[in-house]
Symmetry: C2
């Protein structure tokens, strides 16, 4: 059975050596002293490796079962959920007023990675609750907040998001679910929603569904969509639970992975709901949840890659097969461990350089979110808005690839379920799809985010790379990192320029390259992160760190990313510059 | 449920417009007139789309069940196997002396693609039988051939290959299964083999296991391995079935995919076996089977990509979601079909340009095999030997990626099992692993095949590309194909040069780039195939073809591959030229 160990040492490094959180002048960050963050990360790591990781295989094997309208979660999930609740993990970064601990999101992100790695299917129950609570927090009335948030912050009640219908996912303007206003100010919700993660289960006494629906007579299409709170069990004025609402789970989907999470068809048969936020502005409110969820999903890309890598690494050190081509390294054994072989090393370095780089990218993103919220910094808000599709799309595409590589290290043993590597691949696959398929992320990036606020945020990003390169340009030790970063950034700018020039003439010229641009930008972001880590580790070594091995390994891994991954930007640029014609030339009926 | 239609039109094009089989002066090729090949391909296509494809989901859902030592295959498999048998498909390219039809392998390859596409798990039963029969044909005594081949060519008996043991897969020198010589010339085989595909089942009255084992007292390691024929049921001198042999299935593996094929743990408890070929030369004999199997597995990479693409294309034309950014294309419908969106097109073109290019590559490879065998052409034999790891490794890596892309077109529906796209991904995944994991293919290519016969075969390949480019260099219409092919081939040669220079100093400098080289070479091969197809289609158009749409589509798809896929070679070259250091610098305990 696979195992999971929280990468607390690496997280500590990011918080304190790279991001230097206590120097950041972000409200709440002065509390993040090394001892304090270490205590939290260790405690959370322990919970994840000891309680949740062992349930990952159980969840996959047993799955969820629907019987007489009730969904039974896998054995052990309920007790584990109680443990998570008791630890207060779900409300770590939620306001104290509603029972949370008001910690910065950068700490929430660190714990989120652990939950997503140890047991993705399980973590989704609390993750969706967090997202729903954030949405109520941002858009709810005082009464709605008071009614729902305390129970959701503690995870006594869980939450869901209901967007997709059988005939529409991405194109929500086509939705048919309707919400008819009632005399008492509530709405009668009728329709069917599909792919509702954690839509029904036995781990909480109530489930708060956030449901998109159309109020009859409203504007056509996406402009007539509103958001509603539809609790599974109606809540009385005194907060006590009343009648069961008119919402039921009709079916659980059989899926490729995340079997431990119930993906439900939800039927709303005149269920009672309450408007959340403004009439017809449902998409805006839902985007609070979706933006949070997109970063959470990007985290899943990293997290599944991380746990898969840990197990591949252990296997590569343990499994004896063949001899090093440069001479036996385990001469007294029957063979050398797999890790001596160059192509196995190549694969492990791909994985290691991705996971550590992706973690830096996500932690940096989390800090931007804190800066946006806690400092009300509009530039940080613009930058994280630009980065969100990259964090989601690039990290889940690459994260999935890494789970496939990790599985490959096991040879045939990777293909049999017993070793658990197949599950990492199958679970990681969903992250490329949900919360907006990665093609939609690329479209969001190129079609919307690049040009947002007059292109201000992407210019700020280029400026950030440029000034980093300038600051470090004189330092010879930094040359192996600055030079490739500069080149990759130049490629990215050339692609941006191509879009500006050609996209004016034909939007297809930009959109045909959207997927390549998203990947290119992901590489440049991770390249920047590796350059910053190289800087931090060179400084640590210069300052006589007590852990030189750790920092030398960082530098070696940074060099790997620079030489073996960043060259991808030139390929993406060549593809982009070939324009729309190769992609669009063929008529649909010529396929 | 997904469907499958055999790409007979494209196969016809390859055989007659591109390869021009009847002009090839290969014995047996003069029979391959268009009407004749069309009749065979249509018939085989019908069997695959109507009989075997509908059983693909059944096989996945039901899997194989082991009860009291007997393996029950999924419902309908037995009857379908009878149908395949009656059609004589299994012996299509086998000698007439043993009941086959003695057709060239290029025809075998075409039908193989269909079987591997419609139902990979099912096709493996006959595929392994074919491989085992080929091995007996090449290395068996006259008596062994007479005893086993007629029944195996007809598939009344099936075959297996037994290599892997729990502690060794790639490194077979570590194997423990032993073969003790008996007074009657037979051997007593004792040991355990794992991952034995089709090791036990209920579709044939006998199963002929080819088993690698060590004769006690023989040379150490791989040089002391011999190959044995171990039938499940002993065969009497008159060919009648006798006693059950001492071989049993101990367990069926739970796997990620190919559930319809029984992957067995096989226990040999003093089973009776007969030496096949020469003592201690078992690996050489087994390589007859493995080389055939590797090409068959490369075919699976193409085949799963093809069937996944067909279904993704149908969905992209059918599913209405969003509007074309350049204006509605289905103005009377609620939305436009997915295929209008540039990133969906990009994905479909990736898939289409891969599958058609891969098919050309495999058919060309099959022709080389025919030339090697039927003309006893040593150059063709050397070239296909060089290409085998590329056909296996590159086509299965890329084929898997394409199934993932096809699944992605379906959004959330791709992740639920109901639509069948998950199965294509899960089934395609094994092809990267078995018959030598793709890392081993890359090692074989760079560590062995490149330098074989003094590098003669790779030089011949470069020469082939060069002379094609020269022949077509004056034709302006060919410029969009010749120019990128030249550049990609130049990159490949630069990589080969780097290996020659640096690999002398340190083998790691070559092996650290082996995976990149394999991919690079795959791209150049498919690039050459697309250039040849462009030539063929330009000629057809010039000659007033009755199907200009088909040829225009070929040209557009060729342009896509050239502009969007071939630029990958520069990235692979950059990685290769970064050398061994980034890959090998980190000590194992620094990971």
């Amino acid at each position: 059975m696979p195992s999971y160990t929280a990468p607390t040492r690496d997280m500590h490094y990011l918080l304190h050596d790279v991001l230097k959180v206590t120097d950041q002048k972000i409200p709440g960050y002065d509390d993040l002293e090394a001892d304090f963050t270490a205590a939290i990360l260790e405690e959370c790591g322990k919970l994840n490796s000891e309680v949740l990781a062992p349930l990952n295989t159980v969840g996959d094997t047993e799955g969820c079962v629907l019987e007489n309208g009730v969904v039974r979660t896998p054995k052990g999930f309920k007790e584990a959920f109680d443990t998570v609740r008791e630890g207060g993990w779900a409300g770590l970064d939620m306001p104290e007023a509603f029972g949370g601990q008001n910690m910065p999101f950068v700490m929430g992100a660190a714990t989120l990675e652990m939950f997503a790695a140890s047991n993705q299917a399980f973590a989704m129950y609390q993750g969706l609750t967090h997202g729903a609570a954030s949405t109520i927090l941002a858009h709810g009335s005082e009464q709605q907040k008071a009614t729902y948030l305390p129970k959701m912050v503690s995870c006594e009640w869980t939450g869901t998001m209901n967007l997709t219908e059988p005939h529409c996912g991405t194109d929500l303007g086509l939705m048919r679910t309707k919400a008819e206003p009632q005399a008492d100010g509530s709405y009668r919700i009728t329709g069917q929603k599909i792919f509702i993660s954690a839509g029904e289960h036995d781990m909480a006494e109530n489930i708060i569904h956030l449901v998109l629906a159309k109020i009859p007579g409203g504007p056509e299409g996406i402009k007539g969509v509103s958001l509603f709170i539809v609790p599974k069990v109606l809540v009385a004025a005194d907060g006590s639970l009343g009648e069961r609402n008119g919402v039921t789970c009709g079916k659980i989907e059989e899926k490729m992975g995340i079997h431990g999470n119930a993906t439900c068809v939800m039927n709303y048969d005149g269920a009672t709901g309450w408007l959340l936020g403004t009439e017809h502005k449902g998409m805006r409110a839902m985007f609070t949840m979706m933006n949070e969820a997109r970063i959470g999903v990007g985290m899943q890309g990293l997290a599944q890659a991380e746990v898969a890598y840990q197990n591949a690494l252990a296997y590569a050190k343990d499994r004896l097969q063949g001899r090093a081509v440069t001479g036996a390294e385990n001469p007294n054994g029957p063979a050398d461990p797999l890790i001596v072989h160059p192509d196995i090393r190549r694969s492990l370095m791909d994985q290691k350089s991705f996971t550590e780089g992706a973690r830096a990218f996500l932690f940096w993103g989390a800090m931007l979110i804190d800066r946006a919220h806690r400092n009300e910094d509009a530039d940080a808000d613009g930058l994280i808005s630009l980065m969100t599709p990259v964090l989601k799309g690039f990290l889940t595409d690459r994260g999935f690839d890494m789970t496939v590589q990790a599985q490959q290290v096991f040879g045939g043993h990777g293909y049999v379920e017993e070793w658990g590597m197949s599950q990492f691949v199958r679970d990681a696959r969903i992250a490329m799809i949900y919360e907006g398929a990665n093609g939609v992320q690329a479209l969001d990036l190129v079609g919307r985010k690049l040009a947002a606020d007059g292109g201000k945020h992407v210019m700020a990003f280029f400026e950030m790379v440029k000034s980093f390169c300038k600051e470090n340009g004189e330092d010879e030790a930094m040359a192996p990192f600055v030079k490739p970063l500069k080149q990759a950034s130049k490629d990215l700018q050339a692609a941006g320029m191509y879009f500006m020039q050609e996209g004016m003439k034909s939007p297809n010229a930009a959109l045909a390259g959207s997927n390549d641009f998203m990947h290119m930008m992901g590489h440049v972001c991770i390249g920047l992160m590796w350059a910053r880590m190289a800087r931090a580790s060179l400084d640590a070594l210069a300052n006589g760190t007590s852990d030189p091995d750790f920092h030398e390994a960082k530098l070696a891994t940074a060099r790997y990313y620079m030489t073996r991954q960043l060259p991808a930007t030139a390929m993406h640029l060549a593809r982009i510059q070939s324009g729309a014609a190769p992609v669009m030339d063929l008529a649909a009926d010529q396929f």
